[in-house]
Amino acid sequence: MARKSFFKRITLWRYLFLTACFITVIGNPFANYYWDVNFIQGWFQSIGIGNLWVVSPLEGLESILTAKFFYMPSLVGMVIPVTLAFLMGRVFCSWMCPVEFLSLLTDKVLGLIPKWGNSLKYRKDLVRFAKYTLWFALVAELMVTMVIGYPMFVWWSPPGLVGRETMFYVFYKHVTVEIFIVIFVLLLNLITRRMFCRYFCPLGAILALIGKRRQLVIEYDASKCVGCKICDKRCPMGISPSVGESQSVYCWNCAECVDVCPTSALNFVWRDRGFITLPKGSKQGSAV
């Protein structure tokens, strides 16, 4: 297998970027508490870098839905993530989310086990749901939020909880019971790779919905494919790029399949045709 050279692998840059984001979120409470550096505040529910405000779209939407009140700074803060999702799809999930970092870390640690490390790292999915479950998660989340009248995802969202638990630990020297949600999500990964991200994450669902007609897609070149199916095995989202699903809504542009493809039949392209065109005869169930 012609392996790509070290620095040309996109996943390497993804790991570096994930680590940088994770360190930013984790290191913030330490910087704030011990050195009084307030330049960056918050975590991925709302992060403020100097005067640049970023508000997570789902949390902002929930806040608007429950309070029935538009507040300009939160709307302006939602512009950057929404634009990013509109152009590139779920890149937040694969390139920034701290839960993805922790899942990746557990994957790498599992891969270190001798003998069957590699089979654990790229293990088979034990439980598979329909991919539509993602949309039901989003709708159920918004319905529960509006029925109860208080935003729900803001206090159990795993990417936010990573930052909040760190902040609790640094500031008040204790962690709350909500850390079990993060542990639960990471334990779900043992059943199916990225089970929560695939099926139950409302934030991922809303980002996928925004990025349905995204510009950055992974293009599948059928003429170069030799049918080794290694991309299907490596895909953490459980979609099959080898049958043309790489442009579907559920792809989160993590570039695992691009790097692992021995004949470079999969590549990142800026989409110019404007619409999702699946090859004829492929499984159509993925396009919503």
């Binding site: 913030n28 409470p29 704030n32 508490y33 009084d36 307030n38 505040q41 918050g42 975590w43 529910q45 709302s46 992060i47 403020g48 405000w53 508000v55 997570s56 949390e59 902002g60 929930e62 806040s63 429950t66 309070a67 009140f69 507040y71 700074p73 939160s74 803060g77 598979r128 749901f129 329909a130 539509y132 479950t133 039901f136 998660a137 159920a140 109860i148 009248g149 208080y150 935003p151 729900m152 803001v154 206090w155 936010g160 930052g163 909040r164 902040m167 609790f168 500031f171 008040y172 709350t176 019971v177 909500e178 099926y199 139950f200 499984k283 169930g285």
Partner: protein, 225 residues
């Protein structure tokens, strides 16, 4: 591949049912962790436990706040704390100031970082976190016939001393409720609990107030007095 396609609908039904049952089980499990299920939807704001400065009314606060924690990270005195799910229920993750542990020093940094307008930017004088109430049975100056002490601590530490706390002709402090910001510095530094007959009780406590009523007070009234 072909086999999966056939069972898609059945799988989907199973998934939806499973997700609902699982969600119900999950939520019931987390509910049973609570000390008192009634606190799930009852606001944990009480005496001496107040919202940070500039907070919108309590009935809207937990709906607007997205629990991003920026107010607590920017607070230079680290006096903003957060409820967790055991103490707060649906209010978990919302900020509060426990004035008995650390009062608010009105640096007004937190109101400028709130992304959702839960904390509205305002001037120091317009802050209404609560209102200070002096218990005259405990205050050593009000009981000066018994104690023989004349303490002016709350008057001295108040950031609006002479406006929010005044002193009458017997040097006894009293609160002008319209001008009190409820920052809690007076309650924090009250020395009445060191007096042996008081059993460690502070003479001043900060009571949470309805913002709406106090907000109608004009700024000119504060400046006049």
């Amino acid at each position: 591949m072909e086999k999966e396609r056939k069972t898609d609908r059945r799988e989907f039904l199973k998934v939806t049912l499973g997700a609902f049952i699982g969600g119900a089980l999950f939520s019931s499990c987390s509910l049973s962790d609570l000390k008192n299920p009634k606190t799930m939807v009852k606001s944990p704001i009480k005496t001496n436990v107040l919202r940070p400065p500039g907070a919108v009314p309590e009935e809207h606060f937990a709906q607007k706040c997205i629990r991003c924690g920026r107010c607590g990270e920017v607070c230079p005195y680290h006096c903003i704390k957060y409820f967790d799910v055991k103490t707060g229920g649906v209010f978990s993750g919302t900020p509060y100031v426990d004035v008995m542990e650390k009062p608010c020093y009105l640096c007004m940094k937190c109101v400028y970082v709130c992304p959702t307008g839960s904390l509205v930017p305002c001037a120091k004088e317009e802050v209404r976190m609560g209102v200070a109430v002096i218990n005259r049975q405990i205050c050593v100056t009000w009981q000066q016939d018994k104690t023989g002490l004349m303490c002016k601590t709350c008057f001295n530490v108040c950031p609006f001393s002479g406006v929010a706390i005044k002193i009458d002709h017997d040097f006894r402090p009293y609160i002008i409720e319209e001008n009190c910001t409820g920052c809690g510095i007076c309650a924090y530094s009250c020395i009445a609990d060191t007096y042996p007959e008081n059993n460690g009780k502070k003479a001043i406590s900060i009571q949470p107030i309805k913002w709406k009523k106090i907000k109608q007070i004009k700024l000119e009234d504060i400046k006049k007095s």
